[in-house]
């Protein structure tokens, strides 16, 4: 009986997610079309015949009434066809699938580093509770949080690429590198992505540090910790088996949201380092009024946000069984 109810609750959740996505996309579809600007605008040029714009608009079906465009979009989208990107001239799905693996790898790496880095630093701070390192890390994290990514990005590029020449300043891999040797290719990717991942991780790290530090501090002073200590349980066991699991709950809920946001693209880092990620793809699509691609990017981001939150909830349930009980009642 219980698994059935659990399943039902997930079905409900999936249905509401699909409904949210449908409403978002429908709203966006109308909004971008009534907003100022026009995908054919770029064909307004002294070099081109003025009738070309009308021709191109008609091939984009923008000359049809809005409801016509909407219904044919819904019809095609439900069959999995999101249309052809106005800028890339290829199916939106293809363009997104080309960009998505990089974004997932990039955001996930940064996310893991933020999460683990924040936890480790919080542990370090607590070990030196209210001593120098604790104060230094708290002050330092505030400073790091206050520095905008474009400033830290340019600084790291200046230091590591221009002065020290250790890391390349842009791109995802060496241009024209042979793809035959997978190991070299992989190392080349890592070499190029070190700085961007570092920048992106540093931006989120202070938040996790603060969350972990405060949560661990709170639990450290709770009675159960005192009880464990009094029973002679080792400090290491107390931290890893009791303090951390008890602190994770709220942080994971936050992490789920944060991961979703990371998945929708890290625009500034992508621009500074010329990386082909979802952030740049979406912003360029907006500035060029590439309607099908805007919808595609939004839909992808929406799905990823929902999935990240789902993942976060699953992890929380795994850690804290009471949540499953809550769901069943």
């Amino acid at each position: 009986m219980k698994p059935a109810r659990l399943l039902l609750s997930f079905v409900k959740r999936a249905a509401s997610s699909v409904l949210i996505l449908f409403l978002t996309v429908s709203f966006l579809f109308v909004l971008i079309r009534i907003a100022p600007g026009d995908p054919a605008q770029k064909y307004l040029s002294p070099r081109l015949d003025s009738s070309l714009i009308i021709k191109i608009k008609s091939s984009f079906h923008l000359d049809k009434p809005l409801y016509d465009q909407y219904f044919s979009f819904i019809k095609n989208a439900s069959a999995g066809d999101l249309g052809i990107s106005y800028k890339y001239h290829r199916p939106v799905k293809e363009v997104i699938f080309e960009t998505l693996p990089f974004t997932i790898f990039f955001s996930l790496t940064a996310f893991i580093l933020q999460f683990i880095g924040g936890l480790l630093l919080a542990l370090l701070a607590l070990r030196n509770y209210k001593k120098f390192w604790d104060k230094f890390l708290s002050g330092g994290s505030l400073f790091l949080y206050a520095v905008p990514t474009f400033v830290s990005g340019m600084f790291f590029v200046y230091l590591f690429s221009v002065q020290l020449k250790i890391f390349p300043s842009s791109g995802i891999k060496t241009i024209g590198i042979s793809e035959e040797n997978v190991v070299i290719l992989f190392l080349d990717y890592l070499h190029h992505l070190f700085l961007p991942v570092l920048i992106l991780s540093l931006a989120g790290l202070p938040v996790y540090f603060k969350y972990f530090r405060e949560s661990l501090e709170e639990n450290q002073h709770k009675l159960f910790t005192l009880y464990l200590r009094a029973n002679g349980v080792s400090e290491r066991r107390i931290i890893f088996q009791h303090l951390i699991p008890n602190s994770l709950n709220a942080i994971i809920a936050y992490a789920g949201v944060e991961l979703g946001i990371l998945f929708s693209g890290a625009l500034i880092t992508e621009v500074i380092f010329s990386l082909p990620g979802m952030g740049r793809l979406a912003v360029n699509a907006i500035s060029e009024r590439d309607y099908p691609l805007i919808i595609g990017c939004t839909l992808t981001a929406g799905i990823l946000v929902i999935l990240s939150n789902l993942l976060a909830d699953l992890v929380r349930m795994k850690i804290d069984k009471r949540l499953i009980k809550g769901l069943l009642h």
Binding site: L120, K165, D188, P276
Partner: protein
């Protein structure tokens, strides 16, 4: 437990080992040139060379029948052979006979033939293809859709001789046949409507001095030399890489760091510092782009409502527009922002067109007293002494719309706002995202705006200064002048070059007098390139131009 101290330590140890083990490998080798471009191209197909970079890349991959180079002495272009080795016009210029070079191959090994040439004209002019030349084959026998009728236009005299017939009475020039030829054997298999999205538009078969090597999307386009090309010479560049770097500061850093070799559109404020570098040359391309203050000459609201024309309540009068041109201190922008990388503009006819431009015109000088008197002649006076001019109870207060990401225009607009205030004119500045700005100008909703025009070479005025507003959507200020229309029409007829130049001078006088917009300044394209490249020729036709002539 996953998060043990040992695991975390090992993780970081592995990371460190990887990164210290890697050597920086993105430095360009001495045999390749890296050109920085701010955005990726859409396609590598000459049919769709809508942007400058697409055209630059096309030029290296695909040959035209003829090529045009800039002649600074005449301020005009000279024609040189490319795929056609020679050509001959008939007595009344109604047809031309070309000889095709016979040793040119496509990159898949097939020879370039006259069939490719004829096919190219057919495809470029086909409405269903929507090429960048759509609608511009006026001189050729064509159907109602402007699609060239091959049977009437082409006569194959032999395997290498082709006669092209033009419409009687038209005035064709060699520009009409200067576009890249495409391979028939590749494109004939693709339905015309699908060419825009076909694989051949992304992985081209080429015949130029370079061949296509690789396109790493949103990263780089890599071209390599074609030793089989007749343009190939010993010592020319082995590879040209167009590297996509969207951020301006990153382009600058990589230029200084020798990671890229050419960057265009530098900010004037950065030019001085770059000049100090021993390895870089700074130069500029003059006279292709001018900034202007656009005045809506007509009542935009009324035009939108019922297409009827009434003068704009502020800018409908030429005298008011003249006064405004006198009330903006353009020199201050040239010295303060452009730092000398620009010159005053009198009209849309650039000083690069040495024989067409009128040397006698003196730029409107900054003269608030004269501006005030012109405004008062038009009825704009400050009777109520509130510091703002008024006419028929209406204050001279308007909004200037500019694009939000252009520091030059923000600088200039702020400056102009202050001097106009001294004159008693209230100008509010509205910054809009580019797409919204174009929308506003295009729909005639803006009263005043600041923007720029990039001028076409060869000179063309019809696209923006012709009175028929429906047929001339780029006449943004909606300037209408029958005298000017007649002159522009005359330029399309069979007249001598000298006569044409005289007409240009007359047109320039009219535009100077009427100031349909306030022509501000010609803005230089400031270019920096690594000294290792020799033979870089920066002409009004571009900097990334005829790159097969570049050497180390």
């Amino acid at each position: 437990m996953f998060l043990t101290r040992t695991n975390i330590f090992t993780f970081f140890l592995i990371l460190t080992a990887i990164f210290t083990g890697c050597k920086q490998s993105s430095t360009p080798t001495s045999e390749q040139i890296v050109v920085a471009i701010p955005a990726d191209v859409e396609r590598i197909n000459p049919l769709y060379s809508f942007s400058v970079n697409e055209a630059n890349i096309s030029e290296l991959l695909f040959l035209s029948l003829v090529k045009h180079s800039w002649d600074a002495n005449t301020g005009d272009m000279k024609t040189e052979p490319m795929l056609a080795t020679d050509w001959e016009w008939n007595s009344d210029s109604s047809s031309i006979t070309l000889t095709l070079r016979n040793n040119v191959l496509w990159s898949d090994g097939a020879p370039v033939t006259l069939d490719d040439v004829i096919f190219s004209f057919d495809v470029y002019s086909d409405p269903s293809v929507e090429s960048y030349l759509y609608g511009s084959f006026d001189c050729f026998p064509a159907d109602n859709n402007n699609h060239i009728i091959a049977e009437k236009t082409f006569e194959k005299l032999s395997d290498t001789k082709l006669k092209i017939n033009f419409i009687a009475g038209s005035s064709p020039s060699l520009f009409a046949i200067d576009f890249p030829i495409i391979p028939k054997h590749v494109f004939e298999k693709i339905p015309r409507k699908d060419i825009a999205t076909a694989k051949a538009s992304f992985e081209p078969i080429t015949n130029g001095p370079f061949t296509f090597e690789k396109w790493e999307r949103n990263q780089a386009i890599i071209l390599k030399e074609n030793p089989k090309s007749f343009l190939h010479k010993e010592g020319s560049v082995k590879r040209i890489i167009f590297k996509v770097i969207p951020d301006y500061n990153s382009r600058l850093t990589q230029l200084k760091n020798n990671e890229v070799d050419i960057v265009e559109y530098l900010k004037p404020e950065d030019a001085a510092e770059i000049k100090k570098s021993g390895s870089l040359t700074v130069t500029s391309l003059k006279g292709r782009e001018y900034d202007y203050l656009g005045w809506n000459n007509i009542d935009g609201e009324r035009y939108k409502k019922n297409k009827s024309i009434a003068p704009n309540k502020f800018f409908g009068s030429a005298k008011v527009r003249q006064a405004l041109s006198m009330a903006v201190n353009r020199n201050e922008v040239i010295s303060g922002y452009l730092r000398g990388y620009g010159e005053l503009a009198n009209s849309p006819i650039s000083p690069i067109f040495a024989n067409a431009v009128n040397p006698g015109l003196k730029p409107y000088s900054f003269d608030l007293a004269k501006a005030k008197s012109l405004l008062s002649e038009e009825g704009w006076t400050d009777k109520n002494r509130d510091g703002i001019l008024e006419k028929n109870g209406k204050n001279f207060s308007f909004t200037l719309t500019i694009s939000s990401n252009n520091p030059r225009r923000i600088f200039a607009a702020t400056l102009f706002k202050n001097t106009l205030k001294e004159l008693g004119i209230e100008m509010n500045i509205e910054q809009l995202e580019l797409g919204m700005l174009i929308d506003k100008i295009n729909s005639k909703s803006a009263d005043a705006w600041m923007a720029s025009w990039s001028i076409p070479v060869p000179l063309d005025l019809k696209f923006s200064w012709y009175s028929d507003l429906a047929a001339t959507p780029m006449n943004f200020p909606s300037y209408q002048n029958k005298e000017l229309d007649a002159l522009v029409d005359k330029l399309d007829t069979k007249i001598s070059l000298q006569q044409k130049n005289e007409i240009y001078k007359t047109i320039e006088n009219i535009l100077y007098r009427d100031q349909p917009v306030t022509f501000l300044y010609w803005v230089d394209n400031v270019i920096a390139y690594n000294r290792k490249i020799k033979n870089v020729e920066v002409t009004p036709l571009g900097a990334i131009h005829h790159c097969w002539l570049w050497q180390y």
